[in-house]
């Protein structure tokens, strides 16, 4: 029963995310969607993933998005010209998108009707303990874990370099 509640919230919030005109509402709705997904992870006995879903996604990444949306203060109203020039108004992208949607629909229907029923072991409680997860993460996947920290470092340096203002222009200003 809870599955359907959380699933409905996740789908509804995600649909509203892409339907909103104002990016701030999109970000806030996406946080609601992530909260629902976190509930689904609890139902799947993945408490650790549920916790980091809230802490990392809703707490860190979405706040970063919110900062950028408020920092840029971009105009979000679409004028009549914008709507007329919308890519979906052209025939090429329309056909391509329709084809893509059709392929996805056929695949989904095929998977639902022809696919094998799920494995029997789904009901049994398993792989739920955070301690066991840590055990595997820091032994079998220790190297990947360390490489991840390097990735974060590289992303941090990249973000700083990309987002800073051009220092050359300041140096050639009246001061030098």
């Amino acid at each position: 029963m809870l599955f359907y509640v959380f699933g409905a919230v996740a789908i509804g919030a995600s649909l509203l995310v892409i339907a909103q005109r104002n990016p701030i509402y999109s970000v806030l709705l996406l946080i609601a969607s992530f909260a629902a997904l976190s509930g689904l992870y609890v139902l799947l006995d993945a408490e650790f993933v549920a916790a980091i879903q809230i802490i990392v996604y809703a707490g860190a990444i979405m706040v970063l998005f919110l900062f950028v949306v408020m920092l840029l203060n971009a105009p979000h109203e679409e004028t009549a010209e914008d709507i007329r020039m919308h890519p979906l108004r052209h025939y090429g992208p329309m056909r391509f998108g329709a084809l893509l949607a059709l392929a996805l629909l056929v695949e989904l229907l095929w998977a639902v009707t022809r696919g094998q029923p799920g494995p029997d072991g789904f009901e049994r409680a398993s792989a739920g303990s955070v301690a066991g997860l840590g055990q595997v993460l820091f032994t079998e996947y220790a190297f990947a874990f360390e490489v991840t920290s390097v990735l974060i470092l590289v992303a941090m340096v990249g973000a700083v370099v990309l987002a800073r203002r051009d220092v050359k222009e300041k140096r050639t200003g009246p001061g030098s």
């Binding site: 789908i11 996406l30 969607s33 689904l40 990444i61 998005f65 971009a74 679409e78 989904l108 990309l162």
Partner: protein, 100 residues
Amino acid sequence: MPSLDDYLILSAILFAIGAAGVFVRRNVITILLSIEIMLNAVNLTFVSVGRSQGSFDGQIIVFFVMTVAAAEAAVGLAIVIGLFRHRESLDPESFTSLKW
């Protein structure tokens, strides 16, 4: 009690919503948000399949996906800020300097 198929269908729907957002929206930030929706749909698939297999691997790969998503969001938003400084716009149609 929902089965594995229910979770897979739910994540397929979420992934389709995210993909539709990437195609339909004309705001770079909303496109990045749609990518996050798709990443989360895949995460749900990993966790549910990992549970059906009775292994931790699904949850561990979700951990790595979240790390990569955080890195992607940081770099992507930095690029968005840079683009906005150059063009004063968030419309992907206005970034056509590399178009031949």
